[in-house]
């Protein structure tokens, strides 16, 4: 936006005059000063007015250095940590992206962009060579060397680290320094998505040999000034950050406010500048208050109905089909997500993903077909369905399903379990229940973690050797078109055979003061995939 305003200005008045206007704006000129400047040169009033307006908006879109913001996320626990291998909640991810960098970073299409690694090359997707950027230093002045990368990545393989990314790191055989600025990674099997994996939160680069993480020494845009787990953290700008001109803000204070209404009240009363996780039902409050805006991130997160294929009613494929036809997706999108969602087709790859297969016909709400499959399955009686507030919208989805099921004579008994302990006790154990999958950095990671025959999180216990083989070949395939076709086939297979029903992909909603600029959605999660810190600035 800033570029187009700039260009038009330059076309209309010439480069010298537009530069003069922008310089004076930087020095604090107001619209009146610009107007008088133009009119003193003999320009007519209305034309001057239009040009002044254009100059003002071009100036507003340029990042401004300075300022301090307070950010409120939705989790604050005493288990907050600055150790990337143990992080798992949004506040931790935000902090991580403030103080650390990875070898790559993911942009708004989840493509890996060079970060600490200037370039990465491979011939067979099995051996990768990363060339490190020169001149990068940690917050304490130590320069970045390959040994740091080796330490940071290999520690995830050690069971003593109890890393959350161990399963992802298991495919890495070795990481070695092969030059003063070069690191070679050898995988156990080819994986074209390695740069994407290395751009995720767990694989941030730490100083070689770090054992105490409370100091938060990294290469990132901010330095730790204060860190009180469960209360708040304050970060100050890293003056020697390797990206020129970034970050823009002087200081960021990060607080965790668990109660959603408390968060919104704090934003609307001026106590916070940016908040995460706004419920769609509170959107009206934000929109009706002047000076506040909503930030929508459509991503691939979903809550799915899990019907186990190895026990219970899900073992009967006709029952599974019947349930899939009972999803009134439009109704759910409108009533539950209040239109902040995108329809899904019982397969987990969403439209923002580069491998999304648009050609799969959308399964519609079809009570007739559902009734047919239900009768064919021969299943009668009460079917317990386990839902919980721990799984986003699952109770609402279950209730809508219950209503639709009554129309075809199926009695669903919705059992609402408390959020506490849901994931350990119910999620993978119920015969028919709900799960939630948060956005994953790549299709490969998602399918490997949730749909491979041997995956620990294969919710519906669907085992297909053809699918497994496709998954393996798509990982090794470096040709984009061929890969896309393979993923299309896999999506079709899941939609037709697996025991999961996905009605919609839900968007994440954040809210902020309109003075905060620079937020661009990244489908990895809210708050720009948690990496908002180096990209935002405060308007004057």
């Amino acid at each position: 936006m800033s570029d187009s305003n700039h260009k038009s200005l330059r076309h209309l008045v010439g480069p010298q005059d537009s530069m003069r206007m922008m310089e004076s704006l930087k020095r604090g000129a107001t619209r009146r000063d610009i107007l008088s400047m133009l009119m003193a040169g003999g320009m007519q009033a209305t034309l001057a007015g239009g040009l002044a307006g254009m100059a003002m908006s071009a100036h507003a879109d340029m990042p401004r250095r300075g300022g301090r913001i307070r950010v409120g996320t939705d989790t604050a626990a005493v288990t907050d940590t600055l150790d990337p291998s143990k992080q798992s909640n949004k506040t931790d991810y935000c902090r991580g992206s403030m103080i650390y960098n990875g070898l790559t970073s993911l942009d708004s299409s989840l493509n890996p962009q060079p970060a600490l690694a200037e370039s990465f090359t491979t011939k067979d997707a099995k051996t990768w060579v990363f060339t490190l950027r020169k001149g990068v230093t940690f917050h304490d002045g130590k320069p970045l060397v390959p040994a740091d990368v080796v330490f940071s990545v290999m520690r995830h393989k050690d069971p003593a680290t109890s890393s959350k990314a161990k399963t992802l790191a298991d495919q890495i055989d070795s990481v070695t320094a092969t030059g003063p600025n070069q690191v070679t990674v050898v995988l156990s099997a080819p994986n074209a998505d390695l740069p994407v994996i290395l751009g995720t939160f767990h694989f941030y680069i730490l100083k070689d040999g770090t054992t105490d993480f409370n100091a938060g020494i990294g290469t990132g845009p901010y330095k730790v000034k204060e860190f009180k787990p469960g209360i708040r953290s304050v970060m100050v700008r890293n003056e020697s950050y390797w990206k020129p001109n970034k970050p823009y803000l002087d200081e960021i204070e990060l607080v965790g406010v668990g109660d959603e209404s408390a968060r919104i009240n704090a934003l609307l009363s001026g106590g916070l500048d940016l908040i995460a996780s706004v419920n769609p039902r509170s959107v009206d409050r934000v929109k009706s208050a002047p000076g506040y805006s909503l930030f929508i991130t459509q991503s691939g997160q979903y809550s799915d109905l899990v019907m186990r294929k190895d026990m219970g009613p899900g073992a009967n494929p006709d029952f599974v089909m019947a349930m899939k036809y009972l999803f009134d997706r439009e109704q759910m999108k409108k009533a539950i997500a209040l239109d902040y969602a995108v329809l899904a087709n019982d397969q987990p790859i969403d439209p923002t993903n580069r491998f999304y297969f648009a050609g799969l016909p959308q399964r519609a709400f079809d009570p007739e077909k559902a009734k047919f499959h239900l009768q064919k399955s021969g299943i009668t009686g009460k079917i317990p369905v386990v839902a919980s507030p721990a799984s986003l919208y699952s109770t609402d989805i279950a209730l809508v399903l219950q209503q639709s099921a009554q129309r075809v004579g199926l009695d669903l008994d919705v059992k609402r379990m408390p959020a506490d302990g849901y994931w350990s006790n119910h999620w993978l154990n119920s015969a028919v229940g709900f799960g939630t999958v948060l956005p994953r950095p790549s299709a490969d990671v998602l399918l490997t973690q949730f749909f491979h025959s041997t995956a620990a999180w294969n919710e519906s216990r669907w085992k297909s050797p053809v699918f497994d083989q496709l998954l393996l070949s798509s990982r090794a395939e470096t040709d984009f078109a061929k890969r896309k076709q393979m993923y299309a086939d896999m999506q079709t297979m899941i939609s037709q055979e697996a025991g999961i029903g996905i009605p919609m992909f839900m968007a994440t909603l954040d809210a902020h003061s309109s003075k905060l600029k620079g937020l661009v959605p990244v489908p990895l999660g809210g708050l720009m995939g948690y990496s908002f810190a180096e990209n935002v600035w405060l308007e004057a």
Binding site: A76, A77, V78, T79, T81, S88, P159, A160, S162, K164, K166, T167, K228, P229, G230, I231, R232, V255, V257, G258, D259, S261, A262, N265, A266, L268, S269, G270, G271, L272, D420, G421, W423, S424, N425, W427, A456, W457
Partner: protein
């Protein structure tokens, strides 16, 4: 101090130790019965059998429950409150960073609510039956019936969002001036006062009315004493016992029961720490917090009893 009080204090101290021990056993047993443990809770959805086992070994959770309790108890005698299983920080440090906040909030609330409650209670007792008495009693019951999260939420909506007079969150660490402190504490203290004033007020009203019906008060009136002297110098000292007990009961709630106010105002206190500890199954943390609340309660009740004895000359001299 005289023998009666000393003996009482000695007895109470021993009983207190026994109570604390009993509470620790009960809390430990109940938390151990809850499904899941600290390692599972921390790994959440990403728990696999190896990582859970590794984390359990690291946290020291791979031994039997009585052994863990024994270890904790021996640590306690040495003065070591243990290490929180989830954050690996010493429990003493965790609580130490939050306890002053809780105590400050409790102290300020007590300072404001107790005088108000006592004044209202005594005034209602003296003018019982009058319109003042009726209004005070009804509104007290009305206010205490309103849940405190409703009071807090409405207060925040009016004073923080609409009028922008007060901050919606109380950051205990950013306070630099008295003015800021008053602003940050105004709404939490208001919400808490609404809860405890009513009980103290009604108890003091009942206690004073009970005394005012006694024959010696009639004697005082016949002697010609002013109404103020009659109430404050004669009736009140005899009513101190039940009043002090009611005040102690209400104040003990302020230490551990303020979880809702802490959540709405994001106030970093000990109650929220304990609730987080329970959901994370963090045994040492939960134990220590339970001990603290128990100690606080015992202290307040003992102080109330001592006050009751001191105010009554018959009991003071045995």
């Amino acid at each position: 101090m005289n023998k009666v009080i000393l003996r009482l204090l000695g007895q109470r101290f021993l009983l207190a130790l026994l109570s604390l021990l009993a509470v620790s056993v009960v809390v430990f047993a109940i938390t151990a019965v809850l499904p899941g443990d600290a390692a599972e809770e921390q790994l959440g959805q990403s728990a696999t059998p190896e990582t859970v086992a590794a984390l359990r070994a690291q946290m020291g959770l791979d031994v039997a429950a009585p052994v863990r309790y024994g270890r904790w108890l021996t640590g306690l005698f040495k003065g070591d409150l243990g290490t929180s299983s989830t954050t690996q920080m010493p429990v003493g440090q965790l609580i130490g960073s939050r306890l002053p906040n809780s105590l400050m909030l409790a102290a300020i609330t007590a300072l404001i609510s107790v005088p108000i409650a006592l004044t209202l209670g005594i005034a209602s007792a003296v003018w019982r039956g009058s319109w003042f008495d009726r209004i005070a009693s009804t509104s007290a019951v009305g206010i205490v019936s309103v849940p405190e999260f409703l009071v807090a939420t409405i207060a925040v909506l009016i004073f923080a969002v609409k009028l922008k007079w007060l901050p919606a969150l109380s950051f205990a660490s950013d306070i630099e001036s008295i003015g800021q402190m008053l602003k940050a504490f105004a709404m939490p203290v208001l919400s808490l006062c609404c809860v405890i004033v009513a009980q103290m007020m009604r108890m003091s009203r009942a206690a004073v009315i009970d005394q005012l019906d006694a024959p010696y008060i009639e004697m005082v009136r016949l002697k010609g004493a002013s109404p103020a002297r009659m109430v404050l110098a004669h009736a009140l000292p005899n009513a101190v016992g039940p009043i002090a007990n009611a005040v102690a009961l209400s104040l003990s709630y302020l230490l551990g029961g303020v979880i809702i106010v802490e959540t709405i105002f994001n106030y970093p206190g000990v109650a929220k720490l304990m609730v987080d500890g329970v959901s994370q199954r963090d045994m040492p943390l939960v134990q220590s917090c339970a001990m603290i609340f128990c100690c606080g309660y015992l202290l307040l009740v003992t102080a109330a009893d001592v006050l009751g004895i001191l105010a009554n000359p018959r009991l003071r001299h045995g």
